[in-house]
């Protein structure tokens, strides 16, 4: 089903900064001007404050095309070790497959690395119909869990950088994407690094990986206790 635009509750996860990802959740009752996401087969599971099976969205944000597909999207009780406490929830995307673009649509023909590369990166927004859930359940969400993340950043038709993570957690307060079982590949430069864990600093747009956590590196320099990499997988000074 496609969502309507008026009197909706908007939950927006907005990626900020070059390749940065920052989730902002808020409630909105005004019409919103963007391409409607398509959401299929909404189910009402007892355990969930909100549950969607199958999520597919396409939109233009800031002049850039953004696509997201996920097997499931739900708001459910947050785990505290082995327990759930009713008021505390977390937002989960199961196997999210995100595609974003390096450049604005109108500038896709620019040479890679040109000075006109935009520093803005925006995605995704998910608009939900009012009365579909208890808004209070969203107030207690502090982050987004991404199970099986695949995030491809494309330059025109070509893949530029790919993030894969067995599990990731978007920590809103820290503006940080915490990743486990991660692999980052820069296809343009033929560089790749795999690690057991790492953090994407959303404000600095840099990836931080402890050296002891690295399981594989191809054409990536590693010379310190902790490596700090930009999106070209160049090591930056700590």
């Amino acid at each position: 089903m496609a969502f309507t635009h008026s009197r909706n509750i908007r939950i927006a996860a907005v990626a900020c900064g070059l390749f940065g990802l920052l989730a902002i959740f808020y409630f909105h009752n005004d019409p919103v001007n963007y391409t409607s996401p398509e959401v299929f087969e909404r189910l009402s599971g007892n355990r969930f404050a909100l549950y969607f099976k199958g999520l597919s969205m396409t939109q233009h944000t800031g002049g850039r095309l953004v696509k997201i597909d996920a097997d499931e999207f739900y708001v459910a009780p947050k785990k505290f070790n082995v327990f759930n406490f009713k008021p505390f929830n977390e937002m989960v995307l199961k196997n999210p497959r995100i595609t974003t673009y390096r450049r604005n649509d109108e500038s896709k023909t620019q040479a890679p690395g040109s000075a006109n590369d935009s520093q803005k990166f925006s995605f995704p927004k998910i608009e939900l119909p009012a009365n579909s859930f208890n808004p209070g359940s969203i107030k207690t969400v502090s982050g987004v869990r991404l199970d099986g993340l695949s995030w491809v950043i494309k330059d025109g038709e070509n893949e530029y950088v790919k993030f894969l993570a067995r599990q990731a957690y978007l920590n809103i307060a820290k503006s940080e994407l915490e990743m486990e079982g991660l692999e980052i590949e820069n296809m343009e430069l033929g560089r790749r690094i795999s690690a057991k864990k790492g953090w994407l600093d959303l404000k600095a747009s840099l990836v931080k990986i402890p050296k002891s956590s690295i399981t594989h590196a191809r054409a990536v320099s590693i010379s310190s206790h902790v490596v700090l990499l930009d999106m070209n997988l160049n090591q930056m000074p700590l």
Binding site: N46, R47, A76, P77, K79, F80, N81, V82, F83, N84, F85, K86, P87, N134, G136, S137, K139, T140, E180, K196, K197, W199, K208, P210, S224, H225, V226, L228, L238
Partner: protein, 308 residues
């Protein structure tokens, strides 16, 4: 609230008075609006004052709460309005067991803190922005074992044991529930049977470690089992005479060397996760334990309280 009298530390409100915090109730009702004094009064409560308050005032209340919780029957069931999201929720005996575990944990901590001298001049610390090095030098008894305090550690161990047993019972009770869990205040998370089994095994490890060396598996990341040996019996047995003697040396707020005893008086056995002898040259040139390095490879700085 403040009683605006100088009759000692008798209530939680009394604790704020000697630190010079605004005494008006309409200010205190909003914790986020507390104006923190630029300088603490010179007669602010000391570490010993706060310890004494915990033993004389807090401990008896928690003991009463625990005694009440222990009387709740296994048929307990109540529907109540949870204020955070303002929805109706159900609490049952599993919640009671978890509550008992939490109270046991608090009691264990209260008794443990009473066994050690934590006296310190807090206004000196705050007003002079003492570094860790200066703070330890100015409070030479801080972190030493109090004579005749072994019974406190014995009580602490008793409640730690009870906390773990009640925690395990809470898991069992919630797992065996057959009614609709939709509105239950506390439920078991959406875990696999293997994860539930592992949680029980972790609790069993923790229980065993109270009495002797126990190998603790790290199952945080499935393919990376960084187990280690934990033995809390030296702590609860009162054989650790000084906690401060286990600290590394400090230069200002920064760690400036390795641990004098990487086993922490026998508490930590060999294991990659808690290999406290592992040292790496940090960015400031100090050879410090890796566990005390920050994630950027530099020396972890202990800025103390309050941060200025």
């Amino acid at each position: 609230v403040s009683d605006s009298t100088g009759n000692g530390l008798n209530t939680l409100g009394d604790i704020l008075d000697p630190f010079g915090l605004n005494a008006f109730d309409d200010v205190r009702i909003n914790a986020e609006q507390y104006p923190i004094p630029a300088a603490l009064p010179v007669n602010a409560a000391t570490g010993a004052d706060l310890q004494a308050f915990a033993v004389a005032n807090v401990l008896p209340e928690v003991l009463k709460a625990k005694a009440s919780a222990d009387k709740i029957s296994s048929t307990f069931n109540v529907i109540w309005s949870e204020p955070l999201v303002n929805e109706s929720v159900e609490s049952d005996y599993g919640d009671v067991l978890l509550c008992r575990a939490a109270l046991d944990g608090i009691l264990s901590v209260l008794y443990a803190q009473a066994a050690y001298d934590l006296d310190s001049d807090l206004d000196q610390k705050a007003n002079n922005n003492q570094t860790v090095q200066e703070f330890l030098a100015a409070n030479p008894s801080f972190g030493t074992f109090k004579s005749g305090a072994a019974s406190n550690l014995s009580e602490s161990k008793t409640y730690a044991t009870s906390a773990l047993v009640n925690l395990r019972s809470a898991i069992n009770a919630m797992q065996s529930e057959t009614d609709d869990q939709t509105n239950d205040y506390v439920t078991l998370a959406d875990l696999t049977p293997a994860e539930i089994t592992q949680a029980r095994a972790d609790i069993a490890d923790a229980l065993n470690s109270l009495n002797g060396p126990t190998f603790v598996h790290d199952n945080e990341i499935p393919y990376e089992d960084k187990g280690y040996t934990l033995n809390l019996s030296p702590f609860f047995g009162g054989t650790i005479g000084s906690l401060r003697a286990l600290l590394p040396s400090f230069s200002g707020n920064n760690v400036a060397g390795g641990f004098p005893d990487p086993t922490m008086a026998g508490v930590f056995g060999a294991g990659p996760r808690f290999n406290l002898a592992d040292t790496t040259l940090d960015s400031n040139g100090f050879v410090i334990p890796t566990i005390l390095s920050d994630s950027w490879g530099g020396t972890l700085s202990f800025t103390g309280w309050p941060c200025k």
